[in-house]
């Protein structure tokens, strides 16, 4: 159990917990119960704290491996960290017309100990495991922003992956259809 606090203005709950550096990963399970204690729902988030690699190009993956930021040494100072969270849905509302049912994955990226730069050489890769290779859209909402943008995304040949340029800290949502 971890302590939580509630911001009534936003309606958001906040939980604080520590991720041991030698592990670099942590997960939070949110259990929703009714007044009688009966389980209603389970939700979770898994967070990876990846140290920025200054030795060469590096794939910095989410805990589930379904999202990765491909980095180069430039862009962040040594010891900076890339926090990647695997979420069920974004905290901010989805774009108008996008239902939760078309969301394939949600990941958020936070840069710690460095700038909010988005080096041109960096990219993000998201897994789209659908076998039919239907079109998809990779949406991005910058941290603190309100406008979703469509990063497009290129399907990597022979692999169930969609790649796009790293757009910076924020939330990346893969949809199972073209948006808008």
């Amino acid at each position: 159990m971890v302590p939580i606090s509630n911001d009534q203005a936003s309606g958001l709950y906040t939980a604080s917990f520590t991720i041991a550096p030698e592990v670099g990963e942590g997960s939070l399970v949110v259990e929703l119960v009714d007044d009688s204690g009966r389980l209603l729902d389970l939700h979770g988030v898994a967070i990876a704290a990846r140290e920025h690699a200054t030795s060469g190009p590096m794939s910095r993956s989410a805990v589930d491996g379904n999202f990765a930021v491909f980095t180069t040494p430039q862009g962040l100072p040594p010891k900076a960290q890339i926090l990647i969270a695997a979420l069920e849905l974004p905290l901010s509302p989805l774009p108008a017309g996008v239902e939760a049912s078309v969301v394939l994955s949600v990941h958020s990226v936070t840069l710690v100990g460095g700038g909010d730069a988005a080096p041109a050489e960096w990219s993000v890769v998201v897994r789209d495991a659908r076998t039919n290779a239907s079109p998809s859209s990779l949406l991005f909402l910058p941290s603190g922003g309100r406008e979703w943008t469509n990063l497009g995304g290129t399907r990597i040949r022979e692999r169930p992956l969609v790649a796009a340029k790293f757009a910076g800290p924020g939330t990346y949502v893969l949809l199972n259809r073209v948006w808008p």
Binding site: E22, V29, D41, L42, G65, F70, A129
Partner: protein, 426 residues
């Protein structure tokens, strides 16, 4: 039996026995070298470099001598600090066409001499793998078989210079903190490595790992991921610029020949392991293509890695690359039986474990792609996910026990795992 009869029997045995002499490249006899007859280990040489055994004409012989042991930085890799890799000289010669030359006994009445050479390098890996969940013997056997196949793939990939020598495979989270490779219960896990180049040594405080889904998709993927963790190689299907990114032009566009995608000499496994049998080099007939996140040819990275002997002069073992050979070797024969992985499976047997079974959510396709949680009846004290429902609202569940409860968006109440859906294994 009289003393004279015993003496005669001993003489008769000696008459059938042949001395095998193992020497190094300076001609000096080598003690404590392993000798293999027709692929199986027959014993080790004594201090004079000799082993006397029964041989037949036509037997195939080779020897290997351990030159170095890489100490493990993770636990549970053997007595003391344990080991994570061993470097050997062998008498096996890998030819440029991929054939492997050993020594054939032409006349068993004379001493057979096996010549070790630092250019015939062999690196044996010691891997610890841990399955997060309680697994059945069948599941563990399937994973074990994948490692056996993975060793064969690695052996051919590296032109006979790397293989998996030893593996400990455990379930129920045993050896978890010591494992290089972990298998998770969540079916949405995509195989990946948490940091490249951290097999022989740690990265800061951390011990990076390879993470796999409940069942590894194939043996080649294990080796692709080992390419990251062990060899420090980056992916070659991604890179700089608009792309497309690929390792070699031939695998990208060729429609024939050994270097085409799926060909016997296609590269690279860091581009796509299923369609590649080799690592890329700078050989003019199939050179590494720039622009990927893998700077330079994979073999260049390995050659200048700690897997090569850079501390001794002359080197005790020397990794050969297509560039040092002047050719990309063809497909190798299988690993000699005596060099196949030694595997220990540690199956902790808990009660009421189900064989993997398909759970279909009561709401079916309406809840496709949603997360499936499990509230365990006894196994661990917290809820965990086993993945997402597929497009039909179904999932193959691994590691569940009778009495566990499955929680999904589509279920108004948690669904208990009952005997009707579960074939109990333990």
């Amino acid at each position: 039996m009289t003393r004279a009869t015993v003496l005669l029997a001993a003489l008769a045995m000696n008459a059938c026995a042949t001395t095998i002499l193992v020497r190094n490249n300076f001609g000096t006899p080598v003690g404590q070298a392993d000798v293999y007859i027709n692929g199986s280990r027959a014993g080790a040489t004594d201090t004079s470099g000799k082993l006397t055994v029964a041989l037949n004409n036509g037997d195939h012989l080779f020897a290997r001598k351990q030159m170095y042991e890489y100490v493990a930085y993770r636990g549970n890799h053997g007595p003391g600090q344990g080991w994570v890799a061993r470097a050997y000289q062998t008498s096996l010669v890998i030819q440029n066409d991929g054939s492997r030359v050993d020594s054939t006994v032409a006349n068993r009445m004379v001493t057979q001499t096996l010549n070790l050479d630092p250019n015939n390098a062999l690196i044996g890996l010691h891997i610890v793998a841990s399955v997060y969940a309680d697994a059945s013997q069948d599941e563990l056997s399937a994973i074990r078989d994948r490692f056996v196949a993975a060793s064969e793939y690695l052996y051919n990939l590296t032109d006979g210079q790397f293989l998996i020598e030893q593996l400990e495979l455990a379930d129920d989270g045993q050896l978890w903190g010591s494992a290089e490779i972990t298998f998770h219960i969540d079916n949405t896990i995509t195989p990946f490595t948490t940091y490249i180049g951290a097999f022989l040594g740690p990265v800061a405080l951390s011990a990076p790992i390879i993470r796999m889904p409940p069942t590894t998709p194939d043996s080649q993927t294990l080796i692709h991921e080992f390419g990251h963790l062990g060899f420090g190689l980056a992916d070659e299907y991604l890179g700089f610029g608009a792309g497309p990114q690929y390792c070699t032009q031939a695998r990208f566009t060729a429609t024939g020949g050994p270097f085409m995608s799926g060909g016997a000499q296609a590269s690279c496994a860091m581009d796509h392991e299923r369609y590649s049998s080799k690592l890329c080099s700078n050989q003019p007939n199939n050179p590494h293509h720039g622009g990927t996140y893998q700077f330079g040819a994979c073999w260049d990275t390995i050659r200048f890695s700690p897997f090569n002997d850079a501390t001794s002069n002359p080197p005790r073992w020397i990794l050969q690359t297509p560039d040092t050979r002047g050719a990309i070797p063809g497909m190798l024969p299988p690993i000699p039986a005596g060099l196949r992985p030694t595997i220990t499976v540690m199956n902790r047997t808990l009660h009421d474990l189900c064989q993997p079974f398909v759970f279909t959510d009561p709401s079916g396709a309406a809840v496709a792609n949603t997360v499936v949680w499990v509230r365990p009846s006894f196994w661990v004290g917290f809820d965990f996910t086993i993945g997402k429902l597929d497009y039909k609202g179904a999932i193959e569940a691994h590691g569940l026990h009778l009495g566990d409860k499955i929680v999904t968006l589509g279920s108004t109440v948690p669904v208990p795992v009952t005997a009707s859906m579960c074939t109990v294994t333990n």
